[in-house]
């Protein structure tokens, strides 16, 4: 078990080191997220009083779009530069390869959100967040499920000519619970208006997260290049 966890961490660290050298993916993803905030203002001409109404949806759209592009890109680079081959030879269970990749993408997205959230709060003229804990819980749970499924599907679509277009097409329909739940929880956290449904959303996201971390870990082997 300990050796397995060490393998997962080592694999994640390998990706983190490569990313630290260039900072390409994190820069592109973060700036794309911020661009969505600007586009939202252009598209809906949002006044400060309505900021809270648009904030949760805009934030999630930004996270999902930017994250998808980021993961597709990172998977594509792995494919083109053959970075997947080394780890594929490692004497560890194949699920460790998935979990390492997943962990790297998760940390990357949480970093991006760390930059995006303050900017979004300012851009949508919020006076802070009523329930910060709930806000963070919703964001982390939603991101976890998103990144877990995204890691599986990005890895699998990386060999495709149409990677950039195919990933969102296959990923977004499956992400319906994350999109709905994420927006519902963030809305409750921003307004402080917690209902019994908020708890149900949190549990639903948790079920989604656990399920779509475990199932891809089992199936990841099938989508690796053999």
């Amino acid at each position: 078990m300990k050796a397995y966890l060490r393998a997962v961490l080592t694999l994640a660290r390998k990706d983190a080191l490569l990313e630290r050298k260039s900072l390409e993916t994190v820069t592109a993803t973060a700036s794309f997220t911020l661009l969505v905030a600007v586009l939202f203002h252009f598209a809906f001409d949002i006044r400060s009083a309505e900021g809270a109404r648009f904030f949760p949806g805009a934030l999630w759209i930004a996270v999902l779009f930017a994250g998808t592009i980021g993961m597709a890109r990172s998977a594509r680079i792995d494919e083109v530069e053959g970075r997947g081959r080394g780890p594929a030879l490692a004497p560890v269970d194949r699920s460790a390869l998935f979990l390492g990749k997943f962990l790297f993408h998760l940390v990357l997205m949480l970093l991006v959100e760390g930059v995006a959230v303050p900017v979004f709060i300012a851009a949508f003229a919020l006076r802070g967040v009523a329930l910060p804990h709930l806000f963070i819980a919703g964001l982390v749970l939603g991101t976890w499920g998103f990144v877990a499924l995204g890691t599986l599907l990005a890895g699998a679509t990386s060999g495709e000519r149409s990677t950039g277009l195919l990933l969102p097409l296959v990923l977004f329909p499956l992400l319906t619970p994350v999109a709905l739940g994420g927006v519902a929880i963030v809305t409750a956290a921003v307004t402080g208006d917690v209902t019994p449904a908020t708890g149900t959303w949190l549990r639903l996201l948790l079920v989604f997260d656990v399920l779509f971390t475990a199932v891809p870990a089992l199936l990841y082997e099938s989508v690796l290049e053999v």
Partner: protein, 228 residues
């Protein structure tokens, strides 16, 4: 199993020829007119039947995908792809029939009711699946990816449905356990339509499987004659 499906083709074709006219008769003549919706309500019998087939074939996609991942024989991949094609067909028909019904009854072509949203998501899922298959060509890896996607999709559909129900809930919930909510003539008509469409769906699938099995044979023969 696939061979059995192809073998059952004759029985399925006879069943289709008998059941489809029977269901047409029941839908248009036997079933009474609904009190408030009138004749438009008769769309319901086909709407339910095609929707049921949509869910049946997604189940078949997942089952065939799972067998493909275990056995790695192309036959199962082809069976899954054929099932997905029929799934797209039936879900598209469900959406169109539902929309035709909703216009006079709900006064809109489309609403964001949970069942409609789930069905729409299911349609997107099938289209994405076929896109993966279309791009797969001879790549074993892409075929395995399609299979993984098929399985993950089926696991996801209940969560998608539950989440859209939680999100909002005006679709008439006609069939509840213990209370069919309609007169027996309507219920019988619905059941006959569902059975007729199931047999039709399976018949189409068996034809499709036969075509795939023939094309596999042709490819094998070509490989023998033209060794490249």
């Amino acid at each position: 199993m696939i061979r059995a499906m192809i073998g059952a083709q004759k029985a399925l074709s006879i069943g289709t020829v008998l059941l489809i006219p029977a269901s047409l008769y029941m839908v248009f003549v036997y079933a009474p007119n609904e009190a408030t919706m009138g004749v438009v309500q008769r769309i319901f019998y086909y709407h339910v039947a095609t929707a049921w087939n949509g869910y049946l074939f997604i189940g078949l996609v997942a089952l065939m995908s799972l067998i493909y991942l275990i056995r790695r024989e192309d036959t199962w991949n082809r069976a899954a792809r054929s099932a997905a094609e029929l799934g797209v067909l039936f879900i598209t028909l469900t959406l169109i029939a539902g929309s035709l019904w909703a216009r006079p009854v709900w006064n809109v072509w489309w609403t964001w009711d949970p069942r409609l949203v789930t069905t729409l998501i299911l349609w997107f899922f099938y289209v994405a699946y076929l896109l993966i298959q279309a791009g797969a060509g001879e790549s074993q890896r892409q075929k395995r990816f399609a299979a993984v996607f098929g399985i993950v999709g089926v696991i996801d559909i209940p969560l998608v449905h539950y989440s859209v129900v939680l999100w909002r809930s005006i679709h008439p919930n006609v069939v509840r356990p213990g209370n069919p909510g309609m007169p027996p003539e309507m219920l019988i008509t619905m059941i006959v339509s569902v059975i007729a469409f199931t047999v039709l769906g399976l018949y189409l699938w068996s034809r499709r499987l036969e075509v795939e099995s023939l094309s596999q044979r042709v490819e094998a023969l070509k490989a023998k004659v033209l060794p490249l």
